[in-house]
Symmetry: C2
């Protein structure tokens, strides 16, 4: 929203520590968002400590009690007596509506800051942020410099490799108002470009050369931008094709590849079938394969082709994994053979990933999906990635 | 470990804010763990700001440079020049080894506290905590009161319901040294009992009646305790049976049920086959079913039985979901029909869950797995849960 988040504090359900945290934040900030501690249980202390911090009394809110009773009634549930505690609010509190839960959000002043108290349940928090808090924050902030965040999601390049590739990109905006940041969440890396400017037009002009250069330097490794995801660009491409549809065959990834695509809105028309087996013999039986039962590129191609034929999908992705034996340590690895089949074509690659069971599984899910993206967008499927050992 | 974590601070990659955070923490705490900011990129500032906070110089560590070069050599990769920055350490730093990454952990004094700097990559952090930091913290803490955390994982009861059921349990330990806490992470709720005592024997004596009472009151809803999980207790039960094996059929849960069990160590001998389809017609084709193609308890039973026969598994779980039409809002729901089949038996239940797409998907995954647990342990599969609407 163009507002800087400067400080985050996490404390336990302890009265003295919470009080110190509220008082500190009230001195340091213009606005403070407090999350959690509004529930019905004994360890939920936010209202009580907020009242103490502001030196006001806790009073029963008839308004919120009524809202809560209606909430339970709509769900044909009986309100438990301890829910009444959730309607005890500091007397200076302004209620922030929570249409999807029983915890009452509220706003009040502590020290020099406006505090916004929100429920710990993530979706209640998000709803309250969007509908109640962000509008109030923007109104309080008045006019301000415009800011924009542009994001690039990539897979296959390590963080320091991305950083090295993007050396000098910040300097494309001579007044220093463009800033690069990275968020590595294995296996993807997010490259964030933040640009400040006088207004949207100024930002457009500053951002354009940076975006062009980042796209050029990271090339095929950029899998999506901004709110798009690897799975959403795959779904988009399949939908654009006449009757595009997908079948997925998995081993050690255990359904995680299917679970990234199949539940998306619109996927019901695209996702045809998913098959999971931990034992390749089981897969060979299920697909009635006659090729040798082993994990090779050729076998992956045969699996993908057979699964596509069996399900009638336009595309099939098969990801076979030969896991190492031995304990789950940093040098534990897996050899991945994956293939993508269409009616008249098949592509495949072999890759070896080290780093422990979970690392191999996550890497294989991403490698499979990314190769499918590359195939669908006409990019090379076998381009070398930083995470593999060949 | 029996050490209290009192305060968490999150700040951005900004020199002034980091400096203020280090100085504050150095006044408040005995020990401070700093996570992140040790990477090779321009926004990694921990070493630089730590040196400033302690008033010492930043110097190149020949020891860590050599370690890093060896790290890259072992992986047949070339060290990028910006990795050299990772070997610049405050001159008073004591190196904490990081055997699985290039970021150098280190310890040093700032203010009255000992600071431990750790890499942001979660598994590097965990390794360093276990091997380097926790032993140093325990050594510094000297003798102390013993403490134990006992955890119960449940599914099907809301947080305020669990709280109401457990009223008075803390008072079973008259000296007030037992404390109840809850962590609601939909769809599971974790009930945590913390007990302090003079020594382990004292704790055993205090904890025993509490554990008995919690088990009695939450009953069949407790799905696992401590480090056990819903999926690990299912796997354990299947392994205990002669040739116990599992096949899973999913629709909107999209492979997420299979993904909870199949990748676990030992699951390769138990998990037989997973089938995912978003379209029930596709499922009927795959299983060659002759019953009417609709989502009912009877159909779920037929699907589970057919999938079990087709794969030869001892048990099959089928979870069929009839999603509502319309936008993804809080009142968007799904009707779930699930069944568990063995060679000579079949059990099923129908349940309706509201709360939006993701809520329904997560709820259905958990309901399916929990019914399978109940079936395997001889508990009622149709016991009513708080999250359903019937």
């Amino acid at each position: 929203m163009g507002l800087s988040v400067r400080w985050g504090t996490t404390v336990g359900d302890d009265r003295d520590t919470l009080l110190a945290a509220f008082l500190h934040a009230g001195e340091r900030a213009d606005a403070v968002i407090v999350n959690g501690g509004l529930g019905p249980t004994v360890d939920d202390l936010s209202q009580e400590v907020a009242a103490r911090a502001a030196g006001v009394d806790l009073v029963l809110s008839g308004e919120w009690l009524t809202t809560m009773e209606a909430f339970f009634q709509r769900r044909s549930r009986v309100m438990s007596p301890n829910n009444r505690k959730q309607a005890m609010l500091p007397e200076t509190a302004e209620i922030l509506d929570n249409p999807i839960g029983t915890a009452c959000g509220f706003a009040m002043d502590i020290g020099k800051a406006r505090f916004f108290f929100t429920p710990g349940v993530p979706r209640e928090l998000r709803r309250m942020l969007e509908e109640q808090i962000i509008p109030r924050l923007l109104a309080r902030s008045g006019t301000q410099t415009a800011i924009r965040l542009k994001r690039f999601h990539s897979y296959g390049l390590g963080e320091s490799h991305v950083d090295a590739l993007l050396q000098g990109v910040e300097e494309l905006v001579p007044d220093g108002s463009a800033k690069l940041g990275f968020r590595a969440h294995y296996p993807q890396i997010e490259t964030k470009v933040t640009v400040r400017g006088a207004d949207e037009t100024d930002i457009d002009a500053k951002l354009a050369p940076v975006v062009t250069e980042v796209r050029k330097r990271l090339g095929n490794f950029i899998l999506a931008e901004d709110d798009d995801t690897l799975e959403s660009v795959i779904l988009k491409s399949l939908k654009k094709q006449q009757q595009g549809s997908l079948t997925v065959v998995e081993t050690f990834t255990s359904g995680q590849i299917a679970a990234r695509i199949a539940p998306l809105p619109g996927a019901e028309a695209v996702f045809r079938r998913g098959v999971v087996a931990r034992n390749v013999g089981e897969l060979w039986d299920a697909l009635a394969l006659t090729v040798p039962c082993e994990i090779t590129r050729e076998a992956a191609e045969a699996v993908a082709s057979a699964a596509r034929r069996q399900s009638g999908a336009s595309h099939a992705l098969a990801v076979l994994i030969d896991l190492d034996d031995g304990p789950d340590r940093i040098d534990f690895g897996g050899s991945i053979c994956l293939a993508i089949a269409t009616e008249n074509d098949v592509a495949s690659r072999r890759s070896r990933i080290l780093g422990g069971r979970e690392w191999v599984r996550l890497g294989a899910v991403e490698l499979g999906l990314d190769c499918l993206r590359r195939y669908l967008y006409g990019l090379p499927v076998t381009e070398r990635i930083d995470f593999e050992r060949t």
